[in-house]
């Protein structure tokens, strides 16, 4: 699935714009960055309702392709700046984490 398709599905808006044609093959959903750090996935979308800078740090370390903030979380300037510096697209959706999972679940594995 591409980032643009995902953004449409969950009605997300872009906080730090990026390449909408970025493909990802997996979605990791967690508010616990330690769990994200141990994931074996590559090229995935990180969905979280945590909006601290550590989200982007973590995403960078595990090579996540983009970060989607759930529950309408907004990014503070520090988070936005870091995402820009690291070149990690950042989106936000008003949907709950559960509803985001529901919207994306059908698509996983069927690119």
């Amino acid at each position: 699935m591409t980032l643009s398709e995902c953004a449409d599905l969950v009605n997300a808006s872009w906080i730090v714009p990026g390449d909408g044609s970025i493909e990802f093959h997996d979605v990791v959903v967690s508010d616990l960055m330690s769990d994200v750090l141990v994931t074996e996935h590559d090229d995935f979308l990180l969905v979280t309702s945590l909006a601290s800078e550590q989200v982007v740090r973590t995403a960078d370390i595990v090579d996540a392709r983009a970060v989607l903030l759930a529950n309408g979380k907004q990014a503070q300037p520090a988070l936005r700046n870091l995402a820009e510096t690291q070149g990690i697209p950042l989106l936000t959706s008003e949907l709950s984490t559960f509803d985001i999972c529901r919207a994306l679940a059908g698509c996983k594995g069927h690119p």
């Binding site: 330690s34 769990d35 550590q54 973590t58 370390i61």
Partner: protein, 313 residues
């Protein structure tokens, strides 16, 4: 007027940097140079209009550059009560004005604000000419700007780096609860390893270990250092995290997943779930930890593909 009295700076609590700062900065570095003034021929109404136009609450009264007095909002109100708003400003101004000299350290300005309850102090040069005016706003702005610079300098001093051939050593200092800075070392390490074309999986393991160790110090210790050294000839990355306490009470328990002593606030930031040390151990090839109340040292290595040293043939 000559400076007098003790400077009310609490010598116990401010950092030496701040103390040094308020002595190094002079009043002239902080004051506003464009002073709105009244002349001896002005009326109280003129003074009041000057205040209104410029959004200020006090105006020095001058004869040329010589300071005669200062007229404040209170003086205007007094004139109004006397129905003398069109009377000469010299009759209502305060003549005994507390002034600062332009080459005094800023500490005097701060202590004056505390000692005398005036909102502003005219500033005179050595020749007793009015050269500026200083308010608490000027002081706050100047201090914020300078503190920003100092913090920048301090942050720069928390990083040390050296390279030798393809190898490198990086060291960052961490501070308790400084989440903003945590992760800088892993980000830079990752970048350097990428430039050296190491396998992505190896880079990820190094980055995860470095990040968890940085985070651990920020969350649990009073601060310390984390050092990463890449030795291509030895085929390994070594990460050593050393903090200054308070130590881990039960190391065996801390190595169990889910064991955590972190508080709710740390957990709300997405950490402190008791995964730090187990995660670090999981991605490492060797893992050593020692801890006492004086501090904890974690030393891990991660193997990298061994490279031939670049010796001349």
């Amino acid at each position: 007027m000559a400076p007098a009295g003790p400077i009310p700076i609490d010598t116990d609590s401010p950092s030496p940097i701040i103390t040094e700062l308020i002595y190094r900065l002079k009043v002239r570095d902080v004051m506003t140079r464009e002073v709105r003034t009244c002349s001896v021929d002005d009326t109280v109404r003129d003074a009041q209009q000057t205040m209104k136009r410029n959004g200020i609450t006090g105006v020095p009264v001058v004869d040329g550059t010589r300071l005669l007095g200062i007229v404040s909002m209170d003086d205007v109100i007094r004139a109004l009560e006397d129905a003398a708003i069109d009377g000469p400003v010299t009759e209502y101004m305060t003549r005994s004005v507390i002034v600062l000299e332009d080459d005094m350290p800023l500490s005097f300005g701060i202590s004056y604000l505390e000692k005398y309850r005036y909102g502003r102090f005219p500033v005179l040069d050595a020749g007793k000419n009015l050269v500026g005016i200083i308010t608490s706003r000027d002081i706050i702005i100047a201090l914020l700007l300078e503190i920003n610079k100092e913090v920048q300098r301090f942050e720069d001093s928390t990083r040390r780096a050296e390279t030798h051939g393809r190898g490198f050593r990086l060291e960052y200092t961490t501070r308790r609860f400084d989440f903003e800075m945590a992760g800088r070392l892993s980000t830079e390490t990752k970048k350097l390893l990428k430039e050296r074309n190491l396998p992505p999986k190896t880079i990820r393991r190094v980055a995860v270990a470095t990040y968890e160790l940085e985070m651990n110090q920020v969350v649990h210790s009073v601060g310390g250092t984390v050092r990463v050294a890449f030795d291509p000839a030895a085929g390994q990355v070594e990460i050593v995290a050393t903090d200054r306490g308070p130590g881990i009470e039960n190391v065996d328990e801390a190595l169990n997943e889910g064991y955590s002593t972190a508080n709710e606030w740390v957990r709300s930031l997405g950490f402190g779930a008791g995964m730090g040390l187990p995660n670090t151990r999981r991605v490492s090839d060797t893992f050593d930890i020692s801890s006492s109340p004086d501090g904890t040292t974690v030393r891990v290595t991660i193997s990298t593909p061994q490279e031939e040293p670049h010796e001349p043939v």
